[in-house]
């Protein structure tokens, strides 16, 4: 027993740079050599997928890029999957960015990744990119009155009135769903401000860290669905590849970062962290039982 305790204590006092190295290996190796762990589908993710499935071809979905590069590894796959789903299903998409630190770049990049696989999707007819606008809640509320007032021109400087899609989209009443890909509080505003005041269904794709607070909105019905972190994104990718088998080719492409691949890294990293937590606690409890102060924290 003493020998076990000794080694546990040695492990607990390990230089943190070894942990960093393990986490780095746990992240890089599965990305280079994908394992392909299967994920089960949660109701919140299924609800968003089902909602888009019920939309008719002329219905409009507003996709708001409310995140920046810092959370791109989690939110990018969600954005890509939602856009792919909308384009594959044939619904129209209006894209905008409300996050000031890189939101618009995220929107540009996501469209650039997704559009080459949908050559029939035409700008102005099937989707419009509104660009970025500061103002947060005020901008969102004003869009409930008249989007053309808030965004007189699109991302590329074209008047919204010149684009066939935005000629018929003037406010939330002309849309069927808002999907906010959010890293901060903007996702909450879509639920507690826009859903509450304008009644449009709202769904959110958020980082795993933010997900707990969104469950309150999900339960109250202020959100109809949620993609929580990388797992939520990978579940959506699974649903998409099942529902639209042609997307399997896209997600199987080498060099494309997907949530399914990211989940491999997350699984390994979570397992490493859990293993160390368990070992640390075993050492702590054994040490306490022996009357010692336990391993250093």
């Amino acid at each position: 027993m003493d020998r076990i305790l000794y080694w546990l204590n040695v492990l607990v006092r390990i230089d943190r740079r070894w942990i960093f190295l393990l986490i780095a290996a746990g992240t890089v190796v599965p990305i280079i050599f994908p394992i392909g762990f299967k994920v089960s589908i949660t109701p919140a993710v299924q609800a968003l997928y089902d909602k888009i499935e019920t939309l008719a071809p002329d219905d409009v979905v507003l996709v708001s890029f409310d995140y920046g590069p810092s959370t791109a590894p989690e939110c990018d796959p969600m954005a890509d999957a939602v856009l792919r789903h909308c384009f594959a299903h044939g619904v129209k998409v209006v894209v905008l960015a409300l996050f000031p630190i890189g939101g618009i770049t995220m929107a540009d990049q996501s469209l650039a990744r997704v559009l080459p696989d949908y050559p029939n999707v035409k700008y102005g007819v099937d989707y419009v990119h509104l660009g970025y606008k500061s103002g947060g809640q005020a901008t969102m509320k004003q869009m409930g009155e008249d989007i053309h007032n808030v965004f007189p021109v699109d991302r590329y400087g074209k008047p919204l009135g010149d684009l066939p899609l935005t000629q018929r989209v003037h406010a939330y009443r002309d849309m069927k769903l808002v999907v906010s890909l959010a890293t901060g509080i903007i996702g909450e505003w879509w639920a507690n401000l826009i859903n509450a005041q304008f009644g449009i269904p709202v769904a959110c794709g958020c980082t795993a860290v933010s997900a707990p607070k969104y469950y309150a909105f999900l339960q109250s019905g202020q959100m109809i669905g949620m993609l929580g972190g990388l797992k939520g994104a990978s579940e959506y990718e699974r649903l998409l590849t099942s529902g639209y088998p042609e997307t399997t080719r896209i997600y199987g492409r080498a060099g494309l970062y997907t949530a399914i691949k990211g989940m491999d890294a997350q699984t390994i990293d979570h397992s490493i962290i859990l293993l160390f937590i368990v070992l640390g606690n075993v050492a702590f409890l054994l040490g306490r039982r022996r009357g010692s102060a336990g391993p250093a924290s």
């Binding site: 943190r16 942990i19 960093f20 393990l22 986490i23 780095a24 762990f37 299967k38 089960s40 949660t42 109701p43 590069p69 810092s70 959370t71 791109a72 590894p73 000031p100 630190i101 890189g102 618009i104 770049t105 540009d108 990049q109 606008k133 500061s134 103002g135 947060g136 809640q137 005020a138 509320k141 004003q142 808030v150 590329y156 795993a208 997900a211 707990p212 607070k213 469950y215 309150a216 999900l218 339960q219 109250s220 972190g229 797992k231 989940m263 997350q266 699984t267 990293d269 979570h270 397992s271 490493i272 962290i273 859990l274 160390f276 937590i277 640390g280 606690n281 702590f284 409890l285 924290s297």
Partner: protein, 230 residues
Amino acid sequence: MRFLKLQLPLLLTALAGLIPIVAFFASPNAVQVQWTKDRLEKYMIIIASFALMLGVINVVQSNVKKIERRQKGWHYGAFLLAGLISMAVVGILGAINVGPFQGIGFRPDGSRTPFQWGAEFVFNPLQATMFSLLAFFMASAAFRAFRARNVEATILLIAAGVVMLGRIPLGESILGGRPYLSHFTDWLMNWPNAAAQRGIIIGAALGAASLSLRVIVGIERSFLGIEKTD
């Protein structure tokens, strides 16, 4: 002077606070009220842009001071200012279409403008790198700090362990492919977590409402740089 420094700002604040509340409850046919609310919301978008400007001024001021006084880490401040100024110059020149700096996004032929290049290939990777470092520190911190020291810490530890395991496919593999852990994680998030979150959200909303009321009626004046007793 007192009017300009105190009474006028308080009056403007009270009006700005009251009009949206009145407009919310007023009939959509109350044209004057709705028009005023509409104006206010437009002003808010404009003011928010100026708030970004204030942030830039603040960053410049604090970093210039740091560099002047050669405070610890001053060279990081110099680096920050160099980045800020170069991106601002490239952005402004692009916005007014000067020379090769045409635009701030993609050009019509799909190539990147210098501003877009800087955002995509400098800013984005830097931000992503900063956030990625968290994974390493969180792993190290979780390992060293997550100890079952008492009942509360043990409950937290078990809940965190279950959620971490339930959020990865390994949790299902351990139980022979059955999603019990995933379902239990969902239950934890949907009930105990949502209940606590809702309490926090309602508490914060009530706090925000009461603070707003104090601002509207002029009790809370700290935003003017004035103490209540002044």
